[in-house]
């Protein structure tokens, strides 16, 4: 019996799929509808994935950032030379041949025109200590050379050089009364540093009349486990009034607003467009059922049960969803993956450059969503097909 039922399901479904071409126009509409939803959804969510990739590559667990107490970001923080020296004395900081692995840093933003809009944007300009590059594990110069200490020279992150006007090797930039020469382009495995322009701390102090003061101190600790004791030691020190973040925690906090914004917008678009696509699929499937009502009634009259009929309609819906989803995801992958963009992160008041990233889990998610849309689109029409009275069905033209 169950074999027979299965055979019935298979027969009716196969027959239905074979004659889908007869209803091509309307099937294509539903397919395009679902593909459109999936493409837009994947596109919007790939922005979020892109941010996350930048942050995942930026936040080391054994690197700590020290800011003035009360500051929520580097821009608003400041530390004196004396404070940075007291902190650098801590025994939990890693050491190498050149001494302790710590970099006192300055962080300002400068106006550089954005290529996409032509208007000025806040590009971060960071002054790093001699050990600065060591605190970013994958730092390497990919064009030109490193800046020389004490000179008005800068190196530009790869992301920034792609997104902003005039950030190429050999160019000079005039900020205030100082002229800066771009001597190189650097990479850091896609981390947030690639959105920045770097120079050495003393040149920036001079150009900005900062005297011997800094905004943050970045240190590499002997291990990730040393973070808590390091934090405790600094907070207990009466000479200091600072707060300590791990690099990972800092960048996670600094991206919350942006990630929340993108995922909210993505969710709203997905739900609304999804509804639209379900309506399109429902329309298609209802018409398919009504076009086939005579055929369905004939099948029922021949003794086929309700289950095979329902299954065949549902299968059609699911196939539409899957194909539409696959088409949409493919389009999204080729249209968006790797596209570079830059946006304002209000939490740091500076630009972050990132690449749209279509991950495999994103595609899987989108396919599941498309499947669900197809299933929803097929469900009601399939029930109608099953309930169709045989006599009425046979009488229809």
């Amino acid at each position: 019996m169950s074999n027979n039922a299965l055979a019935q399901v298979a027969t009716v479904t196969a027959m239905n799929i074979r004659n889908m071409s007869a209803r091509a126009a309307s099937s294509i509409v539903a397919l395009v509808g679902i593909a459109g939803v999936v493409a837009v959804l994947v596109g919007v969510l790939s922005i979020g994935e892109g941010f996350r990739a930048v942050l995942d590559d930026s936040g080391a667990r054994d690197v700590a950032i020290v800011l003035r107490n009360g500051a929520t970001d580097e821009l608003g923080s400041n530390l004196t030379l004396a404070q940075t020296r007291i902190i650098a004395d801590n025994i939990l900081i890693a050491r190498d041949a050149e001494g302790i692995v710590a970099s006192p840093e300055l962080y300002v933003v400068v106006d550089v025109p954005m290529k996409s809009t032509g208007t000025a944007a806040n590009v971060p300009l960071r002054g790093v200590g001699p050990q600065g590059p060591k605190l970013r594990q994958n730092f390497k110069i990919v064009a030109g050379r490193m800046f020389r200490p004490g000179m008005f020279e800068v190196v530009v992150g790869r992301g920034a050089s792609l997104q902003f006007e005039g950030l190429t090797v050999g160019n000079t930039l005039k900020w205030g009364t100082t002229e800066w020469t771009i001597t190189g382009i650097f990479e850091d495995a896609g981390s947030i540093a690639e959105s920045e322009i770097w120079t050495n701390d003393t040149a920036l102090q001079g150009a900005y009349n900062r005297g011997p003061s800094y905004q943050s101190l970045r240190v590499k600790l002997t291990s990730a486990a040393a973070v808590q004791p390091f934090k405790d030691a600094l907070t207990a020190d009466p000479r200091l009034n600072v707060r300590v973040f791990t690099e990972r925690q800092y960048y996670e906090e600094k991206s919350q607003t942006l990630v929340a914004l993108v995922s909210t917008v993505g969710a709203v678009i997905a739900v609304l467009m999804g509804l639209g696509a379900v309506f399109a699929a429902l329309n298609t499937m209802y018409s398919a059922v009504s076009a086939r009502s005579r055929e369905i009634a004939t099948l029922r009259a021949l003794g086929f049960g309700a289950v095979p009929v329902v299954t065949s309609v549902l299968t059609e819906g699911v196939l539409l969803g899957l194909f539409g989803g696959a088409v949409g995801a493919t389009v999204a992958y080729f249209a968006f993956n790797g596209v570079r963009a830059s946006t304002m992160n209000f939490d740091t008041f500076s630009q972050v450059s990132f690449a749209f990233t279509v991950t495999s889990s994103l595609i899987l998610q989108a396919l599941l969503y498309a499947l669900l849309l197809g299933l929803l689109g097929g469900l009601l029409p399939s029930l109608r097909a099953a309930r169709l009275p045989i006599a009425t069905g046979l009488r229809e033209l």
């Binding site: 500051a71 300002v108 933003v109 806040n122 009364t177 914004l261 209802y286």
Partner: protein, 384 residues
């Protein structure tokens, strides 16, 4: 044409489910359109609402660099400048790091003259100006933290520390302002109090806001102001308030292009859906159209009826969608107000929406119209 309305209506009622589903798709498309327009307007920060006679003078290197406060008097001496005042971004935080408050140090005596779009009862204004620690707050920020006039609040700054050794600053709430430009989330307090108590940056200002006599001379006056400070250690960049806001919004990247892209994807899909439904309902009624033509309905009339049907469904769905969007935008405004000032769905969404309704209806009807127009009576009647 109006006499055919009952006929069009009856045709829509023929396949109720199909009509309902098509209508729903169109509603969704226009709802999404309205919301996207709202988002676009919110993100561009109401550049259209900027004062046409106001300029912003900022440090040439970046907005975060301060200017000497002596610049204000020099700007005031420029011919064509009516008024100039300072603003400083304070980086205010209320109680928890997450509660960031848009807070500005301003000159209260000049504030309302510079920004006529902000209103406060006269006695509250006087109280604010008289109280050195006075602060005025927007309606929604007051609601968010339960602030009332007369409350004493403490804000921390994530930039400045106070000479008493803390980062906390005390303020007395003197009034809750209303503003017609969508800003109800900011707080404004005395520059003098701020300037005397901060530990660094004394006698600097964040940027200058300038009001001019004649908006047509904005470019010329801006150039004059910048020329005053050329080759100094703090050169300036002066632009109209609108250009400044637009430039700031552009920092988000090309949001407008992204939104246009999403909207066209939605419309392309909806166009297909509506065109397909229309095509289908015409195919099913070929016989009937043949009968109508036999009875003496002309080709143009039959075509117009098909077009009218498509227009009716897109117009119904479109206006319903835009209406829903404008209702929803109002509700959403409260949620996102923390991030952007919002004024609900912009008025131009209605007009551009109406254009889209006509386009969508027209495009969807092209094929069915052609079919109905060309249909020969004999063929139509034979198809039964």
């Amino acid at each position: 044409m109006l006499k055919y309305l009952p006929l069009l209506w009856a045709n829509l009622g023929r396949k109720r489910i199909r009509t309902a589903l098509t209508l729903a798709s169109v509603v969704i498309a226009f709802l999404l359109y309205g919301l996207l327009q709202t988002m676009n307007a919110a993100l561009t920060g109401g550049a259209e609402l900027a004062g046409v006679d106001r300029l912003m003078t900022i440090h040439k290197i970046s907005l975060i660099q301060p200017l000497p406060s002596s610049y204000l008097n020099r700007i005031r001496s420029v011919e064509g400048v009516k008024l100039a005042t300072s603003q400083d971004w304070f980086g205010g935080i209320y109680q928890d790091d997450r509660n960031q408050v848009a807070s500005f140090a301003v000159e209260p005596e000049l504030f309302f003259e510079m920004y006529p779009e902000y209103s406060l009862p006269e006695d509250r204004k006087a109280a604010w100006i008289a109280d050195r620690q006075g602060i005025i707050v927007g309606q929604s920020v007051a609601q968010r933290f339960g602030w009332k006039v007369g409350d004493r609040i403490s804000l921390r700054s994530n930039i400045y520390s106070n000479k008493d050794g803390t980062t906390a600053w005390d303020f007395n709430i003197c009034g809750i302002y209303a503003a017609t430009n969508g800003d109800s989330n900011s707080v404004y307090f005395h520059y003098k109090y701020f300037n005397e108590a901060r530990t660094f940056g004394e006698d600097n200002i964040g940027y200058a806001v300038v009001r001019i006599d004649d908006p047509d001379r904005a470019a010329e006056i801006a150039a004059k102001i910048d020329a005053l400070f050329a080759n100094s250690s703090a050169e300036t960049k002066t632009s109209t308030e609108k250009a400044f806001i637009q430039g700031f919004a552009n920092q988000l990247g090309n949001i407008g292009a992204l939104i246009a892209w999403v909207a066209s994807a939605v419309f392309f899909t909806m166009l297909l859906v509506t065109a397909n439904t229309m095509g289908q309902s015409i195919r099913e009624r070929i016989n009937e159209i043949g009968v109508m033509k036999t009875l003496g309905f002309s080709n143009p009339t039959v075509t117009a009826l098909v077009l009218g049907e498509a227009m009716l469904i897109t117009a119904l769905g479109g206006f319903l969608g835009l209406m829903l969007a404008s209702l929803l935008a109002g509700a959403l405004a409260n949620v996102v107000q923390q991030f952007f000032p919002t004024l609900g769905m912009p008025a131009h969404a209605w007009t551009s929406g109406a254009v889209l309704i006509v386009m969508l209806g027209g495009l969807a009807a092209i094929l069915p119209c052609a079919q109905a127009f060309r249909l020969k009576i004999v063929d139509a009647l034979r198809k039964a």
